[in-house]
Structures are given as structure tokens and as C-alpha cells.
């Protein structure tokens, strides 16, 4: 399906070399490679972090859907992170025997490492409420920050965001709101007075569903990549990227929807029949909103604003993981501290071993894994760029120079986004960046 095979090296190049500042990276992409250099350590690092990321992600997607479908408009959602057994056991749509469309190997239920962590945390076995209050749990705040980035930036491709303003959506939401607040005159009165306020909450919940469905795909993808690596299946970074590209195309057309369950009845706020798809309505907006843009970290936002560092135009925001300085923990973008803390619990031994050998060893594992995460997300972004090129442009082994030039222009336009001084693309080209 994918055409990321490198052109034969013996052939003379059909177009002249790029003169872009990132010409080396562009040539690597044209040869079917990734923005991340193909080294054994890079491969080990990104696969290790995918595996460690997949475990909390298995919780993120289940809880996001739980909040979107069950918690819904609860005005005091104090227990929204206390996911029900039903959602912990909810079969993944793409893995396990009960899946609707089995593409990946894993099991359908929550991953055993996740269940073990939920039980014991990093302290000891104790009631769930104590784990929650002690913050000895999965940081769902990270998932919510990602969702809020998607909601906030809006309009990043696809039709999903426009649909949230449509009459059909409002009518569906209205039915669900009235059903949910049935017998609650206070909330119904509030809805009557401020309909847009409640509707905006429902729109946010639709993004909960959107992101939950996106990560439902990514969790088993990352688990399987780890398994394949353990079996000696990947020979290099491009292999890992190709696996992601293949995965993207395998589920590209899967539906993005928002269903709510009230008193056992299903309210289709965004029905599957609307035809929203995983690639265009979830994956691409997610990459744009979370990997590139996001927002200044809430703790420093006011300082950034005072210093005139927050651009007036949201499209100019570049606080995502591809730009984030993971160094001063909790600086910008999606709070990296929260994710790094989550990932830390599930690091494979070989990754821990790498971290022990560099910088301060175990003492600064959080930063080292944050930088590994940055490397891995450059690889995921490479997969998205290659998938887009594949969908919109020409194969890499095309022999028409005009087509290759069009591919070149596409790659160069993508690389232009990393010309900003804060972009980490130059950093990840060397192994010294740790």
C-alpha cells in the first residue's frame, strides 16, 4: 500500500539537490526515510518510548470515551478519572478477538501493566480515592490538555469542527442535553438562559470522543511495534516509520463519532453516518494542534504574555512537542512533566539502561525520556508527512522529474515549519542531544 521504498542508489538523481537549510533531512525523506536519523540507538529509543507511552495511552483513550459518553455534562465531575470496569474492559476496536476490525495483535482489554499500576501505583496498594488524592495515578490531565489544544485551535483540516456549529449537531446535542438534565430544573433553567454555554461543553465533549477514538488506534499500534522490535523485526528507523504509515492507511477511513449513553439509551450527537474519518478528522488535526501548536504551558503563560512572547495569531503558536524545550520541566506546550511522569512508570529495561549511561543516569531520567519522546514524535510526524505525500502527491520512485519536484516542494514546505529557532529538528540530528 505505501510507496516509501527508496529509489535505487545506482540511478542518477532526476532533480538537483535541495538547497533548503534542512536539505539533508529532505533528501532522507525523499529516500523514504524519517526526519529522525536512522541509527540503532534512535530505533531503540523510539520503540522503547512508544511502548512506555502506549500503556498510559491505553488508559487515556478509555477514559476520554468514558467522559464523553458516560460522565457527559455532570456539573461536578469529580470522579471522571475513576473509569468504570465496563470501559476498562471495553474491547479495542482494532485489537483482540472481539475487535470490529482486527488489525493489530494485542488484546482487547486494558493492558496488564496498566491494571497493575492502577492497583499499586508507585507507592502501594490502597483505595482508589487515596491513589487519586496522592496523585499516584495516570495523569489524565495530559490527555485533557491535548484535547483542549484540539478544541482551542479548531479548523485544522477536515469537516469535524465545522459540523460542531451546524444545526444538525445542535439539534442532536439539544436532545442529549435535555435527556441528561431531565428532572433537573436548575440545570434545564441554566440551559434555557445560557444555551451556548452548555452547547460549548458538549462540543468539548465531542473532542473528548474524537481524541479517544484517535488514541484507541495508536495504543495497539505502539504495543505491536514494541513486540516486533523485541522479535528483531525492525531493521531501522524507516521500518518503524513505514509501520506507522501502513497503520495510518489501514484505519484512515474508520469513523469518528460521538455517542452519549443516558439511562441506557444511546444519543448520537455525531453519528457515524456523517462520515467523519480517523485520518482527516482526528489524526491530522491532532498532529497540528498537539505536535506543532498547543499553547504556552499554563504555569508560564502569564509570564510569556507579559514578555510579549505569545503571538496574537493562534496559527503562529509553536509550543508543541516538536518545539518544546523539555529541559526546564514544565516550560511550554502540552505539559511535558505530566506525560513524562506517566511514561516513566512503564519504561522498558533497555531504555532505562541507555539513560543510566548518559548525563546523570537515573537522576535525570525524566528529561532524557522527554527528549526521547521528542525524537519519537518527529518519527510519527515523518510518518504523517509521508502519508500525506502518499495521499496527495506522487510515489517516491516516480520517474517524472515534475512529480519529484512537486514532492520536493511539499517536503520543503513541511521543513519550513522547522526553520524557527525553537524547533528541535536540528537537535535530534545528533545523538548528543539527550
Amino acid at each position: 500500500m505505501t510507496t516509501t521504498t527508496a529509489p535505487e542508489p545506482t540511478k542518477a538523481p532526476l532533480i538537483p539537490p535541495s538547497t533548503h537549510r534542512y536539505a539533508d533531512v529532505i533528501h532522507r525523506l525523499e529516500a523514504g526515510g524519517s526526519m529522525l536519523p536512522d541509527t540503532p540507538e534512535n530505533l531503540k529509543q523510539i520503540i522503547g518510548i512508544y511502548k512506555a507511552y502506549a500503556v498510559p495511552m491505553d488508559f487515556y483513550w478509555r477514559d476520554l470515551l468514558y467522559i464523553a459518553e458516560q460522565v457527559f455534562l455532570n456539573p461536578l465531575p469529580a470522579f471522571k478519572y475513576f473509569i468504570s470496569k465496563e470501559y476498562l474492559d471495553r474491547p479495542n476496536s482494532y485489537a483482540g478477538d472481539q475487535s470490529q476490525l482486527r488489525i493489530w495483535r494485542g488484546t482487547e482489554k486494558a493492558h496488564p501493566e496498566l491494571l497493575e499500576f492502577m492497583d499499586r501505583g508507585e507507592t502501594r496498594r490502597m483505595p482508589k480515592l487515596l491513589h487519586h488524592l496522592w496523585h499516584d495515578r495516570v495523569n489524565m490531565e495530559f490527555a485533557e490538555a491535548c484535547m483542549q489544544a484540539m478544541l482551542w485551535h479548531q479548523g485544522m483540516g477536515g469537516r469535524f469542527n465545522d459540523y460542531l456549529e451546524s444545526d444538525a449537531y445542535k439539534a442532536n446535542a439539544d436532545r442529549a442535553i435535555k435527556a441528561y438534565f431531565k428532572g433537573n430544573p436548575l440545570m434545564l433553567g441554566l440551559y434555557k438562559l445560557f444555551p451556548e454555554m452548555v452547547l460549548e461543553q458538549v462540543r468539548q465533549l465531542s473532542y473528548y470522543a474524537n481524541l479517544g477514538l484517535f488514541w484507541e488506534v495508536m495504543a495497539p499500534v505502539f504495543f505491536e511495534m514494541s513486540d516486533i522490535y523485541d522479535e528483531g523485526g525492525f531493521k531501522g528507523v524507516p521500518d518503524a516509520m513505514d509501520f506507522l504509515v501502513n497503520g495510518i492507511f489501514a484505519v484512515a477511513g474508520r469513523p469518528i463519532y460521538h455517542h452519549v449513553f443516558i439511562d441506557g439509551e444511546c444519543f448520537e450527537i455525531i453519528p457515524k453516518s456523517e462520515g467523519f474519518t480517523w485520518l482527516y478528522e482526528a489524526a491530522l488535526p491532532y498532529v497540528e494542534a498537539v505536535f506543532y501548536r498547543t499553547s504556552p504551558f499554563r504555569g508560564t503563560k502569564s509570564y510569556n504574555a507579559q514578555a510579549g512572547q505569545v503571538p496574537a495569531n493562534q496559527a503562529d503558536f509553536h509550543y508543541g512537542i516538536l518545539y518544546a524545550d523539555v529541559y526546564p520541566v514544565g516550560s511550554a506546550g502540552i505539559p511535558p512533566t505530566l506525560l513524562m511522569q506517566d511514561v516513566l512508570h512503564f519504561l522498558p529495561p533497555y531504555l532505562k539502561e541507555i539513560y543510566k549511561q548518559h548525563r546523570r543516569g537515573e537522576e535525570d531520567e525524566l528529561i532524557q525520556l522527554g527528549i526521547t519522546f521528542q525524537r519519537s514524535m518527529y518519527n510519527v510526524t515523518s510518518a504523517v508527512i509521508q502519508a500525506l505525500r502518499c495521499a496527495l502527491l506522487y510515489p517516491l520512485d516516480d520517474t517524472d522529474p515534475k512529480h519529484l519536484q512537486a514532492n520536493r516542494a511539499f517536503f520543503e514546505a513541511q521543513m519550513d515549519r522547522f526553520l524557527r529557532p525553537e524547533a528541535r529538528l536540528p537537535d535530534i540530528q545528533t545523538q548528543d542531544y539527550r
Partner: protein, 498 residues
């Protein structure tokens, strides 16, 4: 015996160190044990005051081994022993030529002890001069890139200070019609005219002004402090410089009270100029060591102001400031040295983000914040108590110089905040931040000094209790500064003993 022990312990260990193998861990341990033993003996002397020791040495020259301990010298003896111990601890484990290094540190300590214990002016000069040799060698051999220039400048200024002091002491004998035997008791009962006192005081001011130092005699200080290895900078700033203030108190206020009273307004003005000059220069520095050096210069101005005022409260504050500043400046140099060792630079523009919990030096920076706050005179720390006493005691005598010093104290907060903001906050450069965190062994000296700075702030008796009774009789003015006390300067040493 107690007084001799204070001198002999470092002498014996310094002589014994060359006998050990260079790589032996006992080289450092013995140097540390010597300083700690000396401190224990000092504490013992505080509990049970020892009798003065007087042994004839070269009677024709008037040189006697007169040793004694009173409320003025005891806290300085303890401070010197403590700073020596902390300097030994702050010496990096892989120090090159450790036997010579630690032996020279201990010889410096011997010079300090000799100066503080001496009850004979010639003996004082001998001990005072002795300090010059090891400290110059320490700077010249183990200093930074510009160590040669620093050592030569330090030597020249030190030599001028020593010769001037020797001239002053000898002049005491020549000018006295009946002659003197250079014992402090004899010097305190001289029959010099006011004009003669003026000449002698000029010499004394130059000699000890160079040691403190004060503006305009400070030319050696910023370069030497910035080039000296960390333990030596700690010792120079924390203990050796205090010898200048001690000398002004002994030779200026105690032995030449009339001339001191005459010139005290000018002396106060010099103190104020030093304070403001040091603080403003500190604000402009781009090197942490030089910043701390100028900060020290500014704080020396406070000491001079307190000496000039010479009220009971200002002298008490002066002694408290000697102790507080000794601890704080040694702590600052210790921390700056630690940062320099880890990051490879002391340049402020090259550093940022060191408070980063993961890869910075958060522990060191935390202590640096406390040390800077102490230097700025923030309440709850030793610096506040000392400065409060100095300013309150001096205000009644010289309000304008005191006001200038108060303003310069405000500037301390400016350079402290500026330093901490630039070095502690901001982005930690990933390419540079490849250093190990500090070990507990490296943290110990800074922790001990920080603890004492905090204790001094919470329990001011630690700073004032030693010398309260000893400074009061030396006051030239009453607490309201209206009455000039005439008889007090001639109080004998035995009467001064606490």
C-alpha cells in the same frame, strides 16, 4: 598550654603532612582534624579562659612570646579555625600536590592564630607577615589563569601593608621617651603627643586598610579573590581580611584613641565610600567571583563605619559583622566555587537555569539564595543582626555616612537578585548542561556555613555574646554619641578580658 596548643596543632600537622604519601586520603583528613582540634581547643578556652602566656624571646629587640585570649580575639580564633576546616572540606578531592596545598593552608592558619593571640606588637607583626608567604604561594600555584598577576599584586600590596605596620610598631618604641617593650599593655599606656599619634594612625590605617581592604587601597582584592582557588578565597575573605578590622580596633582605637577621635569623621567617610563603591561595582560585574569580591569590599565599608563611630553598639556590631561576614563571604565563595567546578565557568552571562531540578544545581542554588539573602541583610540571618547593630550604633555619631551605607546595603539586594535571576532562572542550555550533580561531600562545608548563618540570625548571641564585654570599654563615644569618653582607650588588656 591551651594557647600554645592553638598554635602548635597546625604547626605540627603542617610539618607532618610532607611525610605522608601524596595520594593518601590522610593528608586531607589530618588537615581537617587539625582545624577541628584547634576549634575544640578554642571552645575549651571559651569555657575555661586560659591564663596569658609570656615567655622571653629576643629581649634586646623587645620581642616576647606574649599570648593571650580575650573577648576580641576568641571569636576570631574560632572563626579562623572554622573557616580553615571548611576550606579543607571545600578542597576538591583530586587536588594536585595535596601535601603542599594543605600544609600552606595550615601555615596560613598559624599566621592567623599568631596574630589573634599575640599580646606583643612585634610578635603580631611577625605572625601578620607570616600569612603573606603561604597565601601568595597558594594563589600563585593553584590559582586561575591570571594567577601570576594576582599573586604578584597580592604580594606587593601585602608587603607594603606589612612594612607599614612594622614601621608603625617600631615608631611606637622610638617615639616613646621612656621606650616600650612592644607589649600591648605598654602600647596602651604610651605618652605620645597628638601629632605623633596622627602620624602613627596614618601608618596603621594604611597597613590595615590594605588588609581589609578599603577604597582606595583595594587594588589587589578583586583580582586575587577571583583568581585564588576556592578554599583560599574562602580563607582570605572569611578570616584573613578580618585581621584588618581587628588591627584597626587594637592599634587604632585602643592604642591611638585621641588621633582616632580626631580623624573618625574622615574614616567614616572612607567606610561609606568603600561601601557604595563596592556595591555599585558588584552590580556591574559579569563574573561571579568578582561580584562576590566587590560585595566583600562593600561590606568592609560597614566595618570601617562602625569602627569610626566607636560607640558601644557600633563596636559590638563591628564584631558581629566580622563573624557574620566571615561566615557569609566564605559561604558565597564556597558556593560560587562549587558552581564553577561543575559548570566550568563563573561568568554570569554564560550561566542560566541552574535552578532546574533535573539537570541544574538546585541544592547549591538554594543555598546560594540563602547566602545572598544573608549578604543583603534579610532578617532571620546573621547579616541582618550585624548590619542592624552597625547602622544603629553608627547613626548617632555619623548619620550621613550611615545613610550612605544603608543605601549600599540596598544595592546588595540589587546585585543579589540580579545574580540569582540570571544564573538561577531562564533556560538551561542543553549543550552545556552535562555535569554531575553535587555530592553530599561537596555540600558539607556550604551546609555547615549556612546552618551557622541561620543560627546567627535566629540566635544573635552567637555573634555578639563573645565580645560584648570586651568592646564596651573600647568605645570612644557613649551610645548617644554626645559624650566623648576619654579614659576608656587606656583600659588594660587584662581588664578587657571577657
Amino acid at each position: 598550654m591551651t594557647l600554645l596548643l592553638l598554635l602548635l596543632i597546625p604547626v605540627v600537622v603542617a610539618c607532618g603532612l610532607p611525610l605522608l604519601p601524596a595520594e593518601s586520603p590522610w593528608v586531607r583528613r589530618l588537615a581537617l582534624l587539625a582545624a577541628l582540634a584547634q576549634m575544640s581547643v578554642g571552645l575549651l578556652a571559651w569555657r575555661t579562659p586560659p591564663a596569658d602566656l609570656s615567655v622571653s624571646w629576643l629581649p634586646k629587640l623587645g620581642l616576647r612570646l606574649d599570648l593571650g585570649l580575650d573577648g576580641l580575639s576568641l571569636p576570631l580564633v574560632l572563626l579562623a579555625a572554622l573557616i580553615t576546616a571548611m576550606a579543607v572540606l571545600a578542597t576538591p578531592v583530586g587536588q594536585s600536590r595535596p601535601r603542599l596545598f594543605f600544609a600552606l593552608l595550615l601555615v596560613t592558619n598559624v599566621g592567623l592564630m599568631g596574630s589573634f593571640l599575640a599580646r606583643n606588637a612585634l610578635l603580631f607583626v611577625l605572625a601578620y607577615e607570616l600569612i603573606m608567604i603561604p597565601t601568595t604561594l597558594l594563589v600563585a600555584i593553584w590559582g586561575g589563569e591570571r594567577r601570576a598577576g594576582a599573586a604578584i599584586r597580592f604580594l606587593i600590596y601585602g608587603a607594603v601593608s606589612g612594612i607599614t605596620l612594622l614601621a608603625a610598631v617600631l615608631a611606637f618604641g622610638w617615639l616613646n621617651p621612656g621606650g616600650v617593650d612592644f607589649s600591648f599593655t605598654d602600647l596602651a599606656h604610651h605618652n605620645l603627643t597628638l601629632q605623633q599619634q596622627h602620624w602613627l594612625l596614618a601608618l596603621v590605617l594604611v597597613a590595615f586598610g590594605l588588609k581589609l581592604p578599603i577604597v582606595p587601597l583595594h587594588g589587589w582584592q578583586p583580582l586575587t579573590y577571583s583568581q585564588a582557588p576556592t578554599p583560599v578565597a574562602m580563607l582570605l575573605s572569611g578570616a584573613v581580611s578580618k585581621l584588618g578590622a581587628y588591627g584597626l580596633l587594637r592599634f587604632g582605637i585602643q592604642f591611638l584613641p585621641d588621633a582616632w577621635s580626631d580623624w573618625s569623621a574622615w574614616i567614616a567617610a572612607v567606610g561609606a565610600v568603600s561601601a557604595i563603591y563596592g556595591a555599585l561595582n558588584a552590580i556591574a560585574q559579569l563574573d561571579m567571583r568578582r561580584l562576590v569580591a566587590y560585595s566583600s569590599l562593600g561590606h568592609m565599608g560597614f566595618l570601617v563605619l562602625a569602627l569610626a563611630a566607636a560607640t558601644p553598639l557600633s563596636l559590638q556590631g563591628m564584631m558581629a559583622q566580622i563573624l557574620a561576614h566571615g561566615l557569609i563571604i566564605a559561604l558565597l565563595f564556597c558556593l560560587v566555587g562549587l558552581i564553577e567546578t561543575k559548570t566550568g565557568t563563573a561568568e554570569i552571562p554564560a550561566l542560566s537555569g541552574l535552578l532546574n531540578a533535573q539537570r541544574g544545581l538546585p541544592f547549591t542554588m538554594g543555598l546560594l539564595l540563602l547566602a545572598l539573602m544573608a549578604a543583603a541583610g534579610v532578617p532571620g540571618q546573621a547579616g541582618f543582626v550585624a548590619e542592624l547593630l552597625v547602622f544603629e550604633g553608627s547613626w548617632v555619631a555619623y548619620p550621613i555616612p550611615t545613610l550612605v551605607c544603608l543605601v549600599s546595603s540596598g544595592f546588595t539586594a540589587v546585585y543579589a537578585v540580579r545574580l540569582f535571576n540570571r544564573v538561577g532562572f531562564g533556560r538551561l542550555d542543553n549543550a552545556k548542561a552535562d555535569w554531575a550533580s553535587t555530592s553530599w561531600g561537596e555540600r558539607v562545608p556550604a551546609l555547615v556555613l549556612t546552618a551557622l548563618v541561620l543560627v546567627g540570625g535566629i540566635w544573635p548571641a552567637l555573634l555578639t555574646g563573645w565580645s560584648e564585654d570586651a568592646t564596651a570599654p573600647l568605645a570612644l563615644r557613649s551610645s548617644d554619641a554626645v559624650t566623648v569618653i576619654a579614659a576608656a582607650p587606656h583600659t588594660s588588656i587584662s581588664e578587657l578580658s571577657a
